[in-house]
Amino acid sequence: MKRVVVDPVTRIEGHLRVEIKVDEGTGKVEDALSSGTAWRGLELVMNDRDPRDAWAYIQRICGVCTTAHALASLRSVEDALGITIPKNANYIRNIMAASQTVQDHVIHFYHLHALDWVSPVEALKADPIATANLQNTVLSTYKLPFAGPAGINTEAYPKDFPQATPQYFATVKQKIQGIVESGQLGIFAAQWWDHPDYQLLAPEVHLLAVAHYLEMLDKQRELVTPHVIFGGKNPHPHYVVGGMPCSISMEDGNAPINSARLAIVDRAINTARTLVNNFYLPDLLAIGTAYVKAGYVDGGGLAKERVLGFGAYPIEPFTGTTNGGFHEGLLVRCNGVVENFAQGLGKATFYEFKPQDIADPAVLGESIQHSWYEYPGKDGESLHPWSGVTKAKFTGPKTGTQSSWKELNEEGKYSWLKTPTWCGKMAEVGPLARYIIIYTKARKNVLGQPTWAEQLMLDQIDAVSKVLNLAPEVWMPTMVGRTAVRGLEAQLAAEISKFFFDKLITNIKSGDTKVANTEKWEPGRWPKEAHGVGLYEAPRGALSHWIVIKDGKIANYQAIVPTTWNACPRDDKAGHGAYEMAMMDTKVKVPDKPLEILKVIRSFDPCMACATHLFNAKGEKIKVVTTDPYTGTRVDD
């Protein structure tokens, strides 16, 4: 048995470490641990601040899934204060959410995940003519012909087709050759390029993918243009409690939003739809099919047993979340839990996540048995996010010192992440969870009439099942499935952007230009004490923000984020989290170069800064002596 440590795990957001115990003979991973190795304490920072500023602070949890935390935060504050946002603001926020999802998924596939599948070294063996032919084949074989109910078609023809000329691929190959020969490999340095998995695909696939890596690196910026128009910048666009700051007027050249500004958004949405349809999905399906046909159907882990979602995209403004308003009119009703999906629909079970579950400590809770925190009661207890307690308790590693780790202690505490549970059980979240939930609900006849978006999801699943010639319960809960469904969701999200853009135009046309509801802007109009929750489906999965407002200030702020659900440490009762389960469901060929482990971890699209902030701030201020907080920057303890 060999213990292998990978730290830092790169091409992710933040600081993650994994350790595995692998049987060198069989390649079986006997045990695995996942550890968030940084802790920023952001919820402590939220204490006593103005709730109207919460979105700005908490958005800084993460700059990769920027906007996700801002939107969840706004929902929590608006839920607590009983604010309903105007129609235009709802449509704009949905466009921002969906366009961020597309951009995030594109970046993940091409820039964070692709180098686990393809190698620039292999690309050097490719024939440019064969690669051009391959491009044509891929585009004609693997396109998924789905679209939403686009009402106003503003694009004469799709603008961004992949280049399929030998000259183009020869140029890219030459470029890679130059980098390799210079010896300055830059971002390509020190990877395990000799790993046998890189032999799985033909050299032409490698060249095609590397070419698209470069193209998408330059194109991804265009996908979040709607943030720049509506929120002034990206990353970290601006918002306002009660709606959006971007006033709409067709009567003034200085107005934040007018016809010309909307045209820029329209162009970006069309670009997103085309890039996903012509690059992302064909590339993804070509590579995924090759892997599945080579027998790679492992890495499912917890997805086979339990997935969780909260529901996404309110079609119209809603009156609140705790009162059930949020769940009444969703475009994607993935609110619930599916258990045992991998055993087939007959044995799979679905539980709806209902509004009354929100405040129920028996449904949602967090424990800290293996986290570097302590509870006033027992370590094993689980606390609801509205009433949790957190106090840091760093216990160091099993071997090595506190500031020079060798191995972490899986029997004790080993991560800055807490362990969230649903009804005392672990659950995986993310695009895969959302698709499994919608599919199970539909096939078990509990979905009702599918919305156009849900129907699109079902059609996508059927189409991919046909391409792979496998049932959804076989291909979906796997490493490849997790990555593939993320691509499907990018297509869905691009269509959702278009859907809400059309609604926005129609509404403005009807004469409604309101974007902000400031009736309850002044704290004097707020209740003395209020609780709120914001539910949101972030690119990486189900996200919830929890706020307690007292006397006009934040008395408690917590967030349970997707990567915490997935990357959390084990719990003695609930078992392992999704990362650990997935690693234990993955075979390793070369223990010293566990590429398969990195691949399965990255199939989740880890976002550690999201996961490793402080989870509760109930009066637990940590004493810090600041020598000179404003004129200098040195801080000592």
Partner: protein, 368 residues
């Protein structure tokens, strides 16, 4: 591997024409805010200087700065990362991970001692010996100090690396701080912002790459070409401030007409950044243009100058429009005096500012 290539060498090797090389230099000249007569110097620098090695470290951060960097429109991300620099270590983009990646970091630090650029994103966690930010099994503070020792130049990217950022806001649970006190005596180029504007980020690195020296810095270590103006001074809504025309509420008549956001808490008057002139996405917008007041994200410790709806809280409750200019001009003068280098341009600027305030006092009634 020992031969260090210049940008021109790379263009040659990659079979690109002299014409495209010059075009690249023209683009760089303009993004660095240099006048066109500087083009020959840019060309000269690009021809002769080898590709600079860059080590990019991540401390306590959100990766928003790295994300902003790759949003750059000119130069494009691929051109920077593959043609202008050799990015040897970066947690977001590097292919490698774990032990071989850490070994590569050490190899780069030794091999290119005194030659590489150290770019740092994120704050340094100092409390309890730095155990709140561990990477590669050791505290980030150690990695930072080690990598700083052999660096030719250090760039602090973003408000976290410059002044601690969000995690350093009260009560600063992890003792987070800007990096400058932990990197020795070397000058740190401060590029604040949450995040900084993409083309500002790439512009700074291109300056170092092409000229082989630090861009001219102000007394806070910020490149003057990007941080020499207040957002207020370059704001397209400035005429409305001067005319006393303000949005009083989100989405009111003034907001729809694009009037000044000062009364909604805009921090433009005290914030040095390029949002007003360069804007985001190559001139497309910035928060004020999208109707959102500036929150002063390039200001040190701006997170503790909340609530953001308050008018310039540093200058007293409901900051007096007449006095703000004077107070800010005073701060600026003190800063410049401390640095001991008052440039003619700045003197002129100060005088103009004072004149303007004087004129407002005497003549025009400024609405509060």
């Amino acid at each position: 591997m020992d031969k260090r290539e210049s940008m021109w060498d790379v263009y040659l090797k990659k079979g690109m024409s002299r014409r495209s090389f010059i075009k690249g230099c023209v683009a760089l000249t303009s993004i660095m805010g240099l006048s066109t007569d500087m083009l020959s110097k840019v060309v000269e620098a690009a021809e002769s200087k080898p590709l600079p090695v860059v080590i990019w470290l991540h401390g306590h951060e959100c990766t928003g700065c790295d994300e902003s960097f790759i949003r750059s429109g000119a130069p494009l991300a691929s051109d920077v990362v593959l043609n202008s620099i050799s990015l040897e270590y970066d947690h977001l983009l590097s292919a490698a991970c774990g032990e071989p990646f850490e070994a590569h970091l050490e190899e780069t630090i030794q091999k290119y001692a005194g030659q590489y650029i150290l770019a740092v994103e994120g704050a340094v966690a100092t409390k309890d010996n730095g155990i709140y930010c561990m990477t590669g099994g050791r505290p980030f503070i150690q990695t930072l100090q080690h990598a700083a020792k052999n660096a030719a130049a250090i760039i602090a990217y973003g408000s976290c690396a410059v002044s601690g950022g969000i995690q350093a806001a009260e009560p600063n649970p992890t003792g987070s701080s800007g990096i400058a006190h932990y990197t020795g005596t070397k000058t740190v180029v401060n590029v604040p912002g949450c995040p900084p504007i993409p083309e500002v980020m790439t512009g700074v690195i291109m300056h170092l790459a092409l000229f082989g020296n630090l861009p001219p810095l102000d007394n806070e270590g910020r490149p003057k070409q990007f941080y020499g103006n207040r957002v207020h001074d370059t704001c397209y809504r400035r005429p409305f401030f001067d005319a006393g025309m303000f949005a009083e509420d989100y989405d009111d008549k003034g907001a729809k007409a694009g009037w000044c956001l000062y009364k909604l808490g805009c921090r433009g008057p005290e914030t040095y950044n390029a949002c007003g002139n360069m804007r985001w996405y190559q001139g497309m917008s910035y928060p004020v243009q999208s109707g959102a007041p500036c929150i002063g994200c390039s200001d040190a410790h701006f997170w503790d100058h909340a609530p953001f709806s308050a008018r310039l809280p540093k200058y007293g409750p409901f900051g007096d429009v007449d006095k703000i200019g004077v107070a800010i001009a005073g701060t600026m003068a003190a800063g410049i005096a401390a640095h001991g280098a008052v440039s003619i341009v700045q003197k002129k600027k100060l005088r103009a500012e004072k004149d303007r305030i004087q004129a407002e006092k005497q003549g025009k009634k400024v609405e509060k």
